[in-house]
Amino acid sequence: MSNEKTSGLILPAERPSSLVTRRNALIGGAGLLLAGCDQINASPSVKSFLSLGEKATHGAQRLVTNRNALAQEFSRSEMSPVFRQNGNQNPNTAEYNALAANKFADWTLSVDGMVAHPLRISLAQMMAAPRRTQITRHDCVEGWSAIGEWSGVPLGLILKRAGMSSNAKYVVFHCADSTGGVPYYESIDMIDAFHPQTILATHMNGELLTVGHGAPLRLRVERQLGYKQAKYVMRVEAVSSLAGIHGGGGGYWEDHRGYQWFAGI
C-alpha cells in the first residue's frame, strides 16, 4: 500500500503529459455531453414529458389552494424602499404618447368579447368605481421579490357589469406595449378573474401609476408571477378559448419564450 502511494508521488516526467491528455479528454467529453443534453432538451417527447409535470403542478396548486385564498398582505413598514421597474417601461407609440401627454384623460378601457354589454370605461370612471387597496409581494419569474401597495377596481366587478357570458373561460388583457413589434398580452382563468385580490390597478404606493409601472392601468393577479401582471392594459376580452389569440399560448412570454401559462410557482 505505502509503496503504491510513493510511486504516485514520483515520476514527475510522466505525470504532466498524462494529466493534459486526460484534461483534454475531459473537455472533449464535456462538449459531447453538452451537445447530448441539448438534444435531450429539444426532443419533443422530452418536452411533452416535462409539460406533464407542468399540468400536474397547475392541477395540484389549484387543488390545495382555496379559490378565494388570499395572497399574503403586508404592512407599510414591510414595503420595498424602491420598487424596481421591469419588462417594457414605456410603450412609446404615437397613440400612447398622445394619451400620456393628456394625462390619459382621453384613454378608455374596452371590455368586450363574450359579454352582453360591451363597455368603454374612462379613467375618471375607474377612479369613481369601488376599489380595493392591497400591499402585496410581486414575485418575478427571475427570482426577485418587491413589496408595494396597489389600488384599483376589482376585475370581477367590471366583468359582472359587462354581463359576461357563463360560457367564457378566460379573460385576455391586451396591452399598449410591444416587444420587437409583437404586442404584449396576458390571460387568466375565471378563478383568478373573480378572485377578490385581482384588480385593475390605477395606483401604486398611493400615487397614480407611473409610465414605468404601467400607466394608466395595470393588472394585479396576486397569486401568480410577475409576467402575468400586464401593464398598459387597453382592452379586456372575455373568450371561451385562447386558440387564435396571437400565438395561442395565452400570453406574450408563453408564446415566445415557452413560459408556463399558469404562473403559480
Binding site: 464535456a30 453538452l34 443534453c37 441539448d38 432538451n41 418536452k47 414529458f49 416535462l50 409539460s51 406533464l52 409535470g53 407542468e54 400536474a56 403542478t57 396548486q61 390545495v64 389552494t65 382555496n66 385564498a69 388570499l70 395572497a71 399574503q72 403586508f74 414591510e78 414595503m79 420595498s80 424602499p81 424602491v82 420598487f83 424596481r84 409581494r137 414575485d139 418575478c140 419569474v141 427571475e142 427570482g143 426577485w144 421579490s145 418587491a146 413589496i147 396576486e222 397569486r223 401568480q224 408571477l225 412570454w253 419564450r257 415557452g258 413560459y259 408556463q260 404562473a263 403559480g264 410557482i265
Partner: protein
C-alpha cells in the same frame, strides 16, 4: 448463500485464502436501491436546472423582499471577463468557474446547467417536472424506511453511537481514511448514518418546503410557510443553501465510494450484494 459466506468469513484472520473468500452479503434492499437511483437522477436534474434558474437573478437576500436595489448577502457576477462571488463584505475571484467561464457571463457556466444555453423557461420546466419525481420518491422511501424498520434498524444511531467520544473516534478514523472492516462494515457507520439522516430529514424536506414557499399560489394556500422561513427571499436563500448541501453531500459521498472501493460499493447499490472488507490486521 449470503449467510454461509458471512459466517465463514466473520472468524477469518488476515490470511490470503480467507481474503479471497471474504463474505458477500446482501446489504441493500431493492426499494432502497431503486430510490437511490431515482433520487440521484432527480437531484442532479434539480441541481443543474436550479443553477440555470439562479442565473436569471444571481443574487440572494434575507427578508420579505429582495430585488436589485436591495442588499444581497450573496452575489455571483462579473466585471468584464472577471467572474467573482461576493459573500457579505468578502469578494472572491472565480473567473473560469463562476460569474464568467467558458466565454460567457453567467453565474453558473453552461457545463453544469440544464439547458446549457440560457433559458429560464426550459430550466423551470425541468425543475418542476423533476420536483414531482423528488417529492413522490422521497415520500415513498420515507414510508418504506419507517414501515420496513430500515430507519430504526439501519439508519438510527445506536445508543452507544450517540456519545461524543464515539463520534469523535469515528471522525478520526474517517480522517485517516480507515473505514470499518469485517463485521463492522456490515452496518452503516455513525458518520454515514448522520449524513444519510441529514439528507432524508433535513435537506430533502427543507428543500421541498422552501421550494413551495417560493410559489405565490402555495403562499396563498399556506401563509405559514413564508412566516416559517422569514419571507420568500429568505426561503430562496435557504433553498440555495440546501442545494449547496446536496452538492457537498454528493462530493463527500462519491469520495467515500472511491476510497472504500468503487466496484464493491457500486455492486451493492446496483445488485444489493456487498463484499465485507477483510478485517484489518492490527
Amino acid at each position: 448463500m449470503a449467510t454461509q459466506f458471512a459466517e465463514g468469513g466473520a472468524e477469518g484472520s488476515a490470511g490470503r485464502a480467507e481474503a479471497d473468500a471474504s463474505p458477500l452479503i446482501y446489504r441493500t434492499k431493492l426499494p432502497v436501491r431503486i430510490w437511490h437511483w431515482v433520487n440521484a437522477l432527480s437531484i442532479f436534474v434539480m441541481l443543474m436546472s436550479g443553477m440555470m434558474i439562479f442565473n436569471a437573478h444571481p443574487r440572494l437576500y434575507w427578508g420579505v423582499y429582495g430585488a436589485n436595489l436591495d442588499h444581497p448577502w450573496l452575489v455571483i457576477s462579473h466585471r468584464g471577463t472577471s467572474g467573482f462571488v461576493q459573500i457579505g463584505g468578502f469578494e472572491i475571484a472565480t473567473t473560469g468557474f463562476l460569474g464568467y467561464a467558458q466565454g460567457v457571463a453567467y453565474a453558473f457556466p453552461p457545463l453544469v446547467t440544464i439547458p446549457s444555453t440560457y433559458s429560464l423557461a426550459d430550466a423551470r420546466q425541468w425543475h418542476f417536472a423533476f420536483a414531482w419525481v423528488l417529492l413522490i420518491s422521497a415520500t415513498l422511501i420515507m414510508a418504506y424506511n419507517i414501515v420496513s424498520g430500515h430507519l430504526r434498524r439501519d439508519l438510527a444511531l445506536k445508543p452507544e453511537e450517540r456519545s461524543l467520544s464515539h463520534l469523535w473516534h469515528d471522525i478520526k478514523e474517517h480522517a485517516r481514511l480507515r473505514f470499518p472492516t469485517g463485521e463492522a462494515a456490515r452496518h452503516y457507520n455513525p458518520l454515514q448514518k448522520i449524513a444519510y439522516l441529514g439528507v432524508l430529514f433535513v435537506l430533502i424536506p427543507v428543500v421541498i418546503l422552501t421550494g413551495c414557499t417560493m410559489s405565490p399560489t402555495l403562499n396563498a394556500a399556506f401563509p405559514w410557510l413564508a412566516e416559517l422561513f422569514g419571507g420568500r427571499p429568505s426561503a430562496r436563500s435557504i433553498h440555495f443553501l440546501c442545494a449547496f448541501g446536496f452538492a457537498l453531500f454528493i462530493a463527500v459521498h462519491l469520495l467515500a465510494v472511491v476510497l472504500a472501493g468503487p466496484f464493491n460499493e457500486l455492486r451493492s447499490i446496483i445488485t444489493g450484494w456487498y463484499r465485507l472488507p477483510k478485517e484489518r490486521s492490527k
